[in-house]
């Protein structure tokens, strides 16, 4: 141990869906990084437009003023038919639609946006818009909170935390979609140097809108007696999100980017594990977040049977972990590494990965800068090294794709599924290969294991010294796979080491992994292919960000009776 650095966990351990599907948010998550920046750079916030009528319909504008630029969330509130309200991608009406504007919108901009933003994908925005999004009310909680506030009382905390949000986004589109500004045009701005900051800012401001809306409607209902939400209670409301298969392929189609996300996370874990001693402050901090995490897990609700079982196991494991900590204080050498190694032997994957998150919490100074490594220049990934020989490529396949080469595609279950894009909503779907026609023409290139095996077979017939440039000239069908293999040669965490065409494959594991990097909590699967989460729950609102402690918010304080 002495003199030998504890290495990062290898891809064969990390890049398995059963583990990736247990990831939790960390200090490096995009949401946490955004709020640290907003606070440290002393961003200010204003609401220059509030034209919401007594029915809760109209427009509002929320501005976030940074050191160099202002960004404005233009919010349109609607009154859809209850029957038309849906989280599905086939929905055409929502309770609220949003656009994040680059600057401060004029009235002309607001008029222009009023014609397109409510249409979402059916409309077009301009390069002045950085994102478009929409949200629906969580109807029961929204109406409950409205009734309480109108009657002059605060809602019950248990009722609020059981759902955790007044509104739920069903899509947040950035990065050049539907005419919005491409990410390349803003990526040089410091505030967008990390992934998904546009989307996170949009959701953060939309959360403020959701509370303002319910308070407005309470005032309308009872002008003399309505009250606003108490700050502590308000903070327990995040912004919900419903995510489905549309997000799933992202982890496969951006190998360089995913590598950087996970490499940063693993480097953070390794740095913590390599700490020779734990300071008293760190031990206290860890104990505090552990206790708050246990409380939070106790409040984690889901109707999904498998997730419910996982939560039960997690609760049990956290108790086991607590008992272990009571017997084995963090005062020995390499205490964090010892704790991590203990978890590998004694608790579930869900608890191991939760512990990974907890281990990072007291070590902000050591790891927070790793968030700056999480973007990727994907354009540079596009070139193929055609001078590589067949023999060299075969070595890369053996080295990084042994997991794929072991898959038996002779078994029907191993290729039961295929990924395609739906005609109606241009969204990814998972289909049944045996049921659908013209699969080969329409299939998305997400069957990495199968494609690697096909490539490997084709290489067997080639001279070992043959250059890939010449091989690909004759076999262009393997080009996308060769590109992936070359990316993986320098990006160890680029590949999810699973067969994504298998009948056993659970898309929700992909969703959970990506959402953990966003900073999501309280994963609530609705099926094996879509999930509800909460973002920014317990975060300070814009009007209190300056006065709240930095980055202490992601878990609720310990309740007195816990």
């Amino acid at each position: 141990m002495i003199g030998e650095r504890i290495a990062v966990r290898p891809p064969d351990v990390v890049m398995r869906l059963d583990r990736m599907g247990c990831f939790h948010q960390t200090r490096l998550s995009f949401m946490r990084g955004l709020l640290r920046r907003l606070k440290n750079e002393q961003w200010t916030f204003s609401r220059p437009v509030w034209r919401i009528d007594n029915n809760g319909v109209g427009v509002a504008v929320y501005c976030a003023h940074g050191p160099a630029q202002t960004y404005s969330l233009v919010c349109f509130a609607h009154d859809p038919n209850p029957e038309d309200r849906s989280d599905r991608s086939i929905a055409t009406e929502w309770d609220a639609t949003f656009a994040l504007f680059d600057g401060v919108p004029t009235e002309q901009d607001i008029d222009r946006l009023s014609l397109s933003v409510p249409k979402q994908e059916a409309g077009r925005v301009s390069k002045s818009e950085l994102s478009i999004s929409r949200a629906n009310r969580s109807v029961r909680l929204f109406n409950y909170v409205l009734a309480c506030l109108a009657s002059g009382s605060q809602p019950e905390a248990d009722q609020v935390s059981a759902v955790g949000y007044l509104m739920r986004t069903t899509a947040v589109y950035g990065s050049g979609k539907f005419g919005a500004a491409s990410f390349d045009t803003i990526s040089s701005r410091p505030e967008f140097s990390r992934p998904f900051q546009v989307e996170m800012l949009s959701v953060y401001l939309a959360r403020a809108f959701s509370v303002d809306l319910v308070e407005q409607l309470a005032r309308v209902r009872s002008p003399n007696s309505a009250v606003t939400l108490a700050p502590e209670l308000r903070r327990t409301l995040g912004m919900g999100n419903a995510t489905g298969l549309g997000m799933a392929p992202f982890l496969v189609t951006h190998p360089g980017l995913i590598n950087n996300w996970i490499a940063a996370r693993e480097e953070a874990l390794a740095r913590v594990r390599n700490q020779t001693r734990a300071s008293q402050d760190q031990i206290v901090h860890f104990g505090n977040v552990f206790a708050r995490t246990q409380q939070s897990v106790d409040q984690w609700r889901t109707g999904h049977e498998q997730q419910s079982r996982r939560i039960d196991v997690l609760k049990h494991d956290l108790t086991t972990l607590r008992e272990h900590l009571d017997l084995t204080p963090l005062t020995a050498d390499f205490p964090w590494d010892a704790l991590y190694r203990w978890s590998e032997r004694n608790v579930s994957l869900e608890c191991q990965e939760l512990l990974v998150s907890l281990l990072m919490e007291p070590h902000g100074e050591l790891i927070d800068e790793l968030a700056d490594r999480m973007c990727a220049d994907e354009k540079s990934d596009h070139l193929i090294n055609g001078a590589m020989t067949v023999e060299e490529l075969q070595r890369e396949l053996q080295s990084n794709y042994a997991w794929a080469l072991r898959v038996d595609f002779g078994s029907p279950s191993s290729k039961a599924r295929y990924w395609y894009v739906s005609e109606n909503k241009l969204e990814p779907r998972l289909g049944d290969r045996t049921q659908d026609a013209q699969v080969e023409q329409r299939e998305m290139p997400l069957g990495v294991a199968r494609d690697v095996i096909a490539l490997s077979a084709a290489l067997m017939d080639q001279p070992l010294t043959e250059r890939l440039a010449h091989f690909l000239l004759r076999h262009p069908e393997h080009r996308h796979t060769v590109r992936r293999v070359q990316i993986a040669a320098v990006s160890p965490y680029a590949e999810i080491r699973e067969n994504l065409l298998s009948s056993d494959f659970l898309p929700i594991d992909l969703l959970r992994c990506k959402l953990s990097f966003f900073g999501a909590a309280k994963f609530d699967p609705q099926s094996d292919r879509w999930v509800r989460i909460t973002l920014f729950q317990h975060a300070p609102f814009p009007d209190e960000l300056a006065s709240m402690p930095e980055d202490e918010w992601m878990l609720p304080p310990i309740a007195q009776n816990h």
Partner: protein, 222 residues
């Protein structure tokens, strides 16, 4: 309504990201493999960034080559002059461009590359630029009526800007240049697309789409 207004109404402004996605999907739907469709998208993105014609040329290329096997549009031999197997065919600029960048380390920095006849040669330019970067040498690229100097970041058209829209060239020649092109930051991120081009590209891209059914909606995503 006058012609200008009519013309403006018939254009849609696309982000580079949208153009990239449309280019990739349309190319795959028409005839290219996924890996080559990604190359087509890269080429379109590079041209857009430099305010050069892009999707219109791609549309012409895809209409010309739809449903062909891309190997029939590839150079038969990576050595010597690059030409297609059949005298009735024209090289695909994307397939040929991919071969160029794949071969960068194998070609000498002083080596001349000749490829022809080639369809829609403007789509070959991004690959020449990438090749220039890989061999750290500026490159002169020309076909009858057109000449330019390329590097990864820049292109300086010496003459024949109108010929960028050429549907074919008998021979495209790439040689080392004595000087780097004038440096100009590639900063454009939008392109206007006519309805006609949108319809063509969308038609090809839609070959990849699967119609919804009640089963797929029940079984599908969010």
């Amino acid at each position: 309504m006058d012609a200008t207004a009519n013309s403006a109404k018939s254009l849609r402004n696309y982000s580079t990201k949208e153009a990239w996605t449309l280019a990739r999907n349309a190319s795959r739907g028409a005839y290219l493999t996924w890996g080559l469709a990604e190359e087509a998208a890269y080429a379109v993105g590079w041209l857009i960034e430099r305010k050069l014609p892009s999707l219109a040329i791609l549309s012409s290329l895809l209409e010309r080559n739809a449903d062909k096997q891309c190997q029939t549009l590839a150079p038969t031999n990576p050595h010597g002059i690059w030409h297609p197997a059949s005298s009735a065919e024209f090289l695909c600029p994307v397939v040929t461009g991919a071969l160029l960048t794949d071969s960068s380390q194998l070609l000498g920095a002083l080596e001349t590359v000749q490829a022809g006849p080639m369809a829609c040669p403007a789509l070959f330019l991004p690959f020449v630029a990438a090749h220039s970067t890989l061999i750290t040498t500026p490159l002169n690229v020309r076909w009858h009526g057109f000449e330019a100097v390329c590097s990864k970041a820049s292109i300086q058209i010496v003459f024949g800007a109108d010929d960028l829209l050429a549907l074919q060239a008998d021979m495209v020649t790439v040689t080392p240049s004595m000087q780097w092109p004038e440096s100009k930051m590639a900063s454009n991120d939008r392109t206007d697309l006519s309805i006609e081009i949108q319809v063509t590209l969308t038609r090809f891209a839609s070959r990849l789409l699967v119609p919804e059914s009640e089963d797929s909606r029940e079984d599908g995503a969010g």
